[in-house]
Amino acid sequence: MTADIKQKQQSKYSFEQTTGMILAGLILVFVIVGLFYTPYDPDAINAALKNHPPTLLHPFGTDYLGRDILSRVMVGTKATFFISLLTVLIGGGIGTIIGAVTGYLGGFIDELLMRINDGVTAFPSILLALILVGVIGPGKYNIILALSIIFIPSFARIMRSEFLVQRELDYVRNAKLMGAGIFRIIFVHILPNTKNVLLPAFAIGFNNAVLAEAGMSYLSLGVQPPDASLGRMLSESQSYLLGAPWLAIIPGIVIIVMVLGFGLLGRTWGSN
């Protein structure tokens, strides 16, 4: 009986989906464990163990201050994960609402918001985020804010085009005839039908946020020392690239796994 169910499940998931789930699952485990436990204090300096290669006690080695890399990667992944998640939820959420409302209503409000949107899109997005951070100052919360703002236009555009298509369908007319109000039509009737577009967009957005956060922390604009984030760790490793390559390799691999895992998951969400 159990064997039967297992076989069914196996055929249900494609290779892409399975790989995506395993990789994303690994990251999630890393993040959740990192919330409660790290083998060492991630900020504890140990002068005796500077740039030590991986050993049994420090499986990923130690950095230039003798801090345990495994512990720092766990904390850093957690930081990157939550910053990216918040960014995509805030930016994607606002973008979705704007796109949904403008796409459904059309007319003047649509023109107005879309032209503002075009304005924001006209700037290279990372550059815009850098300028914003430059104005409001570096820090965890500030890069969430800056990245959220540059995420809004793309989500608004995607959702608008979806709503333009959906609003012409008869089920929307039917809902109107039954007396449903604008907000009920937008959020209860139409929004669930855009999930094939929305979920992959969120997954891709999450990935972009991971890379953007890593990039900004690398430039010391994001997470501030001594806190760890994946980008921060990459940035710190660069002076020791030849002597202690694990300083760069380990956070690099985690970034790749994270982006790949959620990217693959997002693709399969779209096709279902």
Binding site: Y171, N174, M178, N193
Partner: protein, 521 residues
């Protein structure tokens, strides 16, 4: 004109699709022959495997589909397992195909002339440009495209559906193919155009001795055009023979069912009632025209032009017209979906009557992300008529039963339902708040004939049970004739004639009505 030379022989053809759940067989050992100069009808409802068979002959099956067994012999050559290269030589030159949807079968960015000429470029490499153009123009002339020269440089969007279908036919016939496959070529066209395209196919068949495999779900069309026909049902060939024989003495149960559906029962109730439910006076409806720039002045297009009529309690009023006649727009104005109108819409005896509507496309009118139960309860929630969850569920289940659907459907999603079942659900949804008046906008036009019949009889039954008044909009005269007590004929936004059904069909007065009735098959 018919000779004994066999052009196409299909033997035991089985085709299957690879799906996630394994192989799904769609046709089961189909066999038939097509002789030179013959028109063979292939009848079947959607999902019967008729289009797949046509695509298999043309070698155009999609990647997931496979020919499982059997043979396709064309001019003595085996096509099953033949390479794409060999197919490329045959397609266009020896065999050609015309599709159902003229709106999408032409490339929108190329001129009509260059698209037609491409056929010659590929198959008649020796000819020079002047000769090619001559040849194309000659065929345009033959297919009734009289403005040949100027048409040559036009783009598809500048042409009407009927003209596009003529262009498709002209292009298909350019190389004088031995076989023409026409896959529902008239289904997307208005009735008056339909008969003209059919005549054209007949003419081309006579002049070029091209064998035609004519695929349709419309028995009237098949009867008019084809000498011989065969009937597909669920991938199997149910019956075949001479059309006359088939239509007069059908042997199989399914054929009989199909025939009785196409002849159809009469659902009229001729009890005339006096009280007026709705009167429309001098109603005009406008659509905003798309503006090109942000600041340009907004202009309107008048779609319905000064329409007046009255609807009596308990009657069924039919509105018939071709696409673009404004009948759907009228429905939307009456239901309140379009508000940009002048004139009066008066619902008698009540402050505000909430008309409900059933739409044409059962695939678009149900929200795909909600369960049937949710959909049925939504009108109750919106009308503040909803009670406890249990009450709502009870109401929904009752309505499922009354519309002939199993109660288990409460948990299902629209995806799992067939077209007919979806339309039943749409009707159930419309009836949840117990309205008196229902607007039916082409409610059976997207359905197969046998399903059409079931939905019509359901509507007739519900009319009795709920004491409903219907406004029935359709382009299909045979349906309107059987279902409606009174008919308004619409043409270019106006009602040109309005009479009792028998009177209208007996003595049409208006010129357009006569034309419409003549085109009816």
């Amino acid at each position: 004109m018919e000779s004994d030379k066999t052009i196409l022989t299909i033997k035991d053809l089985s085709i299957g699709f690879e799906t996630k759940k394994g192989l799904l067989q769609v046709t089961d050992r189909i066999s038939f022959q097509l002789k030179e100069g013959e028109i063979l009808g292939l009848v079947g409802e959607s999902g019967s495997g008729k289009s797949v068979t046509a695509l298999a002959i043309m070698g155009l099956l999609e990647k997931k589909a496979r020919i499982l067994s059997g043979s396709i012999q064309f001019l003595g050559k085996e096509l099953n397992g033949c390479s794409q290269k060999e197919y490329e030589n045959l397609r266009g030159g020896q065999m050609a195909m015309v599709f159902q949807e003229p709106m999408t079968s032409l490339n929108p960015v190329l001129t009509i002339g260059s698209q037609a000429e491409e056929m010659l470029l590929l198959h008649d490499t020796k000819s020079d440009p002047i000769k090619r153009k001559q040849k194309v123009l000659e065929l345009f002339e033959k297919t009734g495209l009289t403005q040949g020269e100027s048409l040559y440089d036009k783009y598809p969007h500048q042409l009407s559906g009927g003209m596009r279908q003529r262009v498709m036919l002209a292009t298909a016939m350019l190389c004088r193919p031995k076989l023409l496959i026409a896959d529902e070529p008239t289904t997307a066209l208005d009735v008056t155009l339909q008969s003209k395209i059919l005549e054209l196919i007949q003419k081309l068949n006579r002049e070029y001795k091209t064998a035609v495999l004519f695929i349709s779900h419309d028995l009237g069309v098949i009867k008019k055009l084809c000498k011989r026909a065969f009937i597909l049902y669920q991938g199997k060939c149910v019956e075949q023979g001479m059309t006359e024989e088939l239509f007069i003495h059908p042997k199989q149960e399914y054929t009989k069912q199909l025939l009785s559906a196409s002849v159809g029962r009469d659902y009229k109730v001729s009890k005339q009632k006096d009280s007026v439910l709705l009167s429309v006076k001098n109603l005009s409806v406008f659509y905003p025209k798309q503006t090109k720039t942000f600041f340009s002045k907004k202009t309107k297009k008048q779609v319905v032009n000064g329409v007046s009529f009255e609807l009596y309690q308990g009657e069924t009023l039919g509105i018939v017209g071709e696409s673009g006649s404004g009948k759907s727009t009228l429905a939307k104005a009456l239901s309140g979906l379009l508000t940009d109108c002048t004139g009066e819409i008066i619902y008698h005896g009540r402050e505000k009557l909430q008309p409900r509507m059933v739409f044409q496309d059962p695939y678009g009118s149900l929200n795909p992300s909600k369960s049937i139960g949710w959909l049925l309860e939504e009108p109750l929630r919106l009308q503040k008529k909803s009670g406890s969850n249990q009450y709502n569920r009870q109401q929904a289940e009752q309505m499922l039963q009354r519309t002939g659907l199993p109660i288990e459907f409460y948990e299902r999603y629209p995806k799992a339902l067939s077209g007919g079942q979806r339309q039943r659900t749409a009707i159930a949804m419309a009836l949840m708040t117990k309205p008196e008046f229902l607007i039916l906008d082409e409610p059976v036009s997207a359905l197969d004939v046998t399903v059409q019949e079931q939905i019509l009889s359901l509507l007739a039954k519900l009319r009795e049970e709920f004491n409903l008044t219907y406004l029935f909009i359709s382009h299909d005269l045979s349906v309107i004739r059987r279902f409606c007590d009174r008919i308004c004929v619409m043409y270019e936004g106006k009602i040109v004639e309005s009479k009792k059904t028998e009177v209208l069909f007996g003595q049409p007065e208006n010129e357009y009505t006569k034309q419409l009735l003549n085109a009816m098959l």
